[in-house]
């Protein structure tokens, strides 16, 4: 009986710890926005080609596309072969993507997830890899609070969540479990990507970037392959990528916030590079969203504070050279206005000496 009681006490302590707050609210909110934008971009970028890519008269017929489905998978696009149904589902998907980006929330996440899975499964030829991560993250995101930041009513929602974590521990428990699952998935992706690169000859001998830059589809600028001709630059980019990717699982739960921030910023830079130089915009966006989950809410707060301080310092220096100095709050202005009495140095009697 004592053992059962002790176990229950320990279990309750774990539950109390696990439901004490909502983890990574800012990261999930950024992920929501970025994945949402990637979703909208997916629909909009091929709006004029939509019937060719996903319609009933697509080059990829419904019958052929259904052969690519795994057991248990489904897509709303397969329910009917009429053009009207296709257009209804397509435009509902676009509306859901926009709504999800702006408002977030569980129901919109669920609707967007169903729509996104449907369009991805309708034509798997045009997926870029990031889509696979997006659809898994969307499933977990349906259990999280994705609109506590950067959404209408976010401030009130955060106040409500504070009381909810005490009154209804199920909600923070689900949120935190789903957030952890998302982090496990992100860590897995990066570790596998880093491991595969580290064991691939073309990556370890430092020529991968040279060959990638010469593949016609992924060469967006004429000077990009020229730059990758440089053996040192290509080698450095290769090894930077491998090291940063393998580091992700070790920094996600690390207590060293500085390393976590450094790795995250490096990853974001890498994915911006992929978007710009390789033209993989949707892939880059989804990965930037995933990267944003690596940082904790505290990391974001300290980062924001740091950015504010640096910005204020830069603005202050710029202002000093062009504008008259601004007196700090609480101190009298340099030149008193005519209505104010002129301040003079207090006498020793006035200060009570």
């Amino acid at each position: 009986m004592t053992i059962i009681c002790a176990t229950a006490t320990r279990l309750d302590a774990c539950i109390t710890r696990a439901s004490a707050g909502f983890n990574r609210l800012i990261g999930i909110a950024i992920l929501r926005i970025v994945i949402g934008i990637a979703g909208v971009q997916f629909y909009v970028s091929d709006y004029v080609h939509r019937e060719f890519l996903w319609g009933p008269n697509s080059y990829n017929s419904l019958t052929d596309a259904s052969h690519q489905l795994r057991r248990g998978q489904f897509s709303l696009y397969f329910l009917d072969d009429s053009n009207v149904w296709f257009n209804v589902v397509f435009h509902l998907g676009l509306a859901a993507a926009i709504g999800f980006t702006i408002f977030g929330g569980r129901w919109l996440t669920l609707v967007h997830a169903v729509m996104l899975w449907s369009i991805y499964l309708r034509n798997q030829d045009i997926l870029e890899g990031g889509d696979n991560l997006a659809r898994i993250l969307m499933l977990f995101m349906a259990f999280t609070v994705s609109n506590a930041y950067f959404a209408p009513g976010a401030k009130q929602r955060r106040v409500m969540l504070e009381s909810e974590s005490v009154q209804r521990p199920v909600i923070p428990l689900l949120h935190n479990a789903a957030a952890t699952a998302m982090l496990v998935q992100i860590a897995t992706v990066y570790f596998v990507a880093g491991y595969l690169k580290a064991t691939g000859e073309i990556w370890t001998n430092g020529t991968a970037m040279y060959y990638i830059s010469r593949i016609h589809q992924f060469s967006m600028f004429a000077w990009y392959p020229q730059a990758m001709n440089n053996a040192y630059l290509g080698w450095a980019v290769n090894y930077f990528t491998i090291i940063v990717e393998i580091a992700v699982p070790f920094v996600i739960w690390s207590k060293r916030a500085t390393i976590r921030k450094l790795v995250t910023v490096s990853l974001e830079g890498m994915h911006v590079g992929i978007m710009v130089f390789m033209g993989l915009a949707a892939f880059g966006l989804i990965m930037i969203g995933a990267d944003s989950m690596i940082l904790t809410d505290h990391d974001y707060q300290t980062l924001t504070g740091h950015v504010r301080r640096v910005t204020a310092s830069i603005l202050g220096r710029l202002g000093r050279s062009f504008d008259p100095p601004i007196a700090p709050t609480g101190t009298p202005p340099m030149t008193p206005s005519p209505t104010e009495p002129r301040r003079t140095r207090p006498t020793p009697e006035q200060v009570g000496v």
């Binding site: 890519l53 689900l174 699952a181 897995t188 992706v189 990507a193 880093g194 595969l196 016609h216």
Partner: protein
């Protein structure tokens, strides 16, 4: 009675305890399964794979090879030719024209909203490269079994071949407009990239283009959306 003992903390409720245990179990199972699914092939992996696959597929499919591709060392082309009935009734075959580079260049025209169309030719290239590999394996099989193996291969690749035929039909229609197209044929080629070691060579010899596979003449499909 002490007032403190009257208060039941919400976490003490039995359904919260059950949910917590279920979540911890599910998370552990998910983490283990994703790890095993992504491990390199081994005896242990093959033993646990039925259970792992049951968890991961189809909704948590882990395929991250696109995140660390072995970069291609060649550029690919898809050349499409068409059989057209001319006005005097004779049937002519057009010269094959490249459809891959023009499609890939569409992305460069719009960096903000890049089209996904290059994925179509890329997927076709991958499938036909696999098809060509299997075809080469069949050619090494005993001659008596080759016809049967070839039929089986075509049957397996039927959806892919059908897709490629429909795509080529659309390309031919875009190219030849109102002409009466009867059939289309695709030739998949690769041109190696200048090796890294030869990147600064003066007047490097043009890299030779190699045919990977040529499809049979597929009947033209007229109703593909533009």
């Amino acid at each position: 009675m002490n007032a403190n003992t009257d208060f039941e903390h919400p976490t003490h409720k039995i359904h919260v305890r059950i949910l917590f245990c279920a979540l911890v179990g599910a998370l552990g199972a998910f983490a283990l399964c994703t790890a095993f699914y992504n491990f390199p092939d081994s005896t242990v992996k093959s033993r646990v794979s039925p259970a792992v696959n049951a968890v991961v597929q189809p909704w948590l499919e882990q395929d991250w090879h696109l995140f660390a591709p072995t970069p291609g060392t060649s550029n690919t082309h898809l050349m499409v030719g068409a059989r057209i009935r001319s006005n005097d009734g004779t049937i002519v075959e057009t010269l094959p024209f490249d459809v891959q580079y023009p499609v890939e260049d569409l992305v460069k025209a719009n960096h903000v909203l890049p089209t996904k169309l290059p994925g179509v030719t890329l997927a076709a290239q991958e499938r036909m490269a696999d098809y060509a590999t299997e075809l080469a394996a069949i050619s090494r099989a005993p001659e008596a079994t080759q016809a049967e193996l070839h039929t089986e291969l075509d049957k397996r690749y039927q959806p892919a071949l059908d897709q490629i035929g429909r795509f080529m039909s659309r390309c031919a229609q875009d190219r030849f407009g109102t002409a009466q197209i009867l059939a289309v044929q695709g030739t998949f080629t690769t041109t190696p990239i200048t090796p890294f070691s030869a990147r600064y060579a003066n007047n490097p010899a043009p890299m030779p283009t190699k045919i990977v596979v040529t499809t049979s003449w597929d009947p033209f499909v007229a109703d593909i959306a533009n």
